[in-house]
Symmetry: C2
């Protein structure tokens, strides 16, 4: 598989143009990955443009790619959105990374009642960190679109999403199964919003706020999944059921 670069500046480029990698990414490509003049690579802009090209120059300060071809891919519609509760350790970050690899379209951080990690005054920093993780994961996964990371929300904001989207709350004690919902065509033309709680679980109060707004609690198997595993498993089931895979 060809080496892949993410160059946001490449947005307007097409065949014959030259796009450049600089800074730490040029150093990594030239000094660590040892990219060579003449080598075929792919370049994305993270907004749907997918370019193939050939290395025209490679030094640790700058790598230049001459573009051979360009394809543009549409953003997914309807979208699959992950609402991920803030969680202790690096469990929320692992969840965000895996979801990006698996094709999620947008990610919303959730300050849940049992979230041990609290962003409060540092919400901007938290969102910025998740955006960095998502950008790196999208590059590693060779995705044409970088998922959006939205601002941190509270439970009422998630409940409001149920007016226009199919909101599915992953909850091990739910009686309904995700596989049934995914197969039954409940999705129609709406965004699917997957809600994943923190390590300590979703509270009864949060569950009832969400359910009253029309969100549906669903479970996967019979086991209890960590917050870093639940979203990835649910996204995999949905991608398979909806023919994305």
């Amino acid at each position: 598989m060809a080496l892949h670069f993410l160059i946001e500046d490449a947005a307007g480029s097409g065949p014959g143009d030259v796009v450049r990698l600089t800074g730490a990414e040029a150093h990594h490509a030239a000094a660590v990955r040892r990219v060579r003049v003449g080598e075929s690579v792919t370049v994305g802009d993270g907004r749907g443009a997918w370019l193939t090209g050939t290395i025209a120059a490679a030094s640790p300060k700058e790598v230049a790619v001459e573009i051979d071809s360009r394809t543009d891919t549409q953003a997914a519609s309807p979208r699959t959105v992950l609402v991920q509760a803030l969680a202790k350790g690096d469990r929320d970050e692992l969840a965000v990374q895996a979801a990006t690899e698996l094709g999620v379209d947008a990610i919303i951080p959730w300050q849940a009642a049992r979230s041990v990690s609290r962003w409060d005054a540092k919400a901007e920093k938290g969102v910025a960190r998740w955006r960095t993780i998502v950008r790196e994961a999208a590059k590693q996964a060779h995705r044409a679109w970088i998922p959006a990371v939205e601002g941190v929300v509270r439970t009422a904001d998630i409940a409001a999403l149920a007016q226009t989207s199919l909101v599915l709350v992953l909850e091990p004690s739910a009686s309904e199964r995700l596989t049934t919902v995914a197969d039954a065509g409940a999705v129609a033309d709406r965004d699917v919003v997957l809600v994943v709680g923190p390590e300590g679980g979703i509270t009864a109060e949060e569950l009832s706020t969400l359910a009253e707004a029309g969100a549906r609690p669903v479970r996967l198997g019979e086991t209890v999944l960590r917050t870093s595993t639940a979203g990835a498993a649910a996204l995999s089931v949905l991608s398979a059921a909806h023919g994305r895979w």
Copy 2:
């Protein structure tokens, strides 16, 4: 959801018996989780026995559970087996942990050509470490069976499994999709063995050794998955397709 304990000694216990938690696990239950006399809990032995009980005594040195009921669950047959390549960082351990939560039946460590981590002389220590991770993950996930962790294998050993099992090699460049294989009933009555390569990927030589023996390279979506994500995603697709979820 009731607090759950894993007590291997509980294997022969039934209603009316008392089983005991000691050492670090008793301390955790009594001092950290603050379990109380009279509280309902569940107890597994990791070999299929599933007990419900009531806390009869709780101190940081010993927690006693009086058993109320016992259910025995059969081990899965055919099994789903994960062959996980050794990988750098903690990526192989994260993979093993997630696979256990998601219901894998057995795990086999693979010393692949591009495995940066090499167990060589320390294979016993490596297997012991994976067994500890799997035991903890099975307990957290409330699984009745702890997946077996087998000895480390080389590529030829995996090829040999294709004589009796359906061996699926996760490879982003494969033309066949896992979703197609999972739906087409290719599984029949055989164990399914999922092979996940290291961070650097499976070599062409390894792929051809496996394919010549009858293993089938398959991919999930269009993206490139980390070794810690690939097995979890594939297990999720298989569990949904085969009605386990």
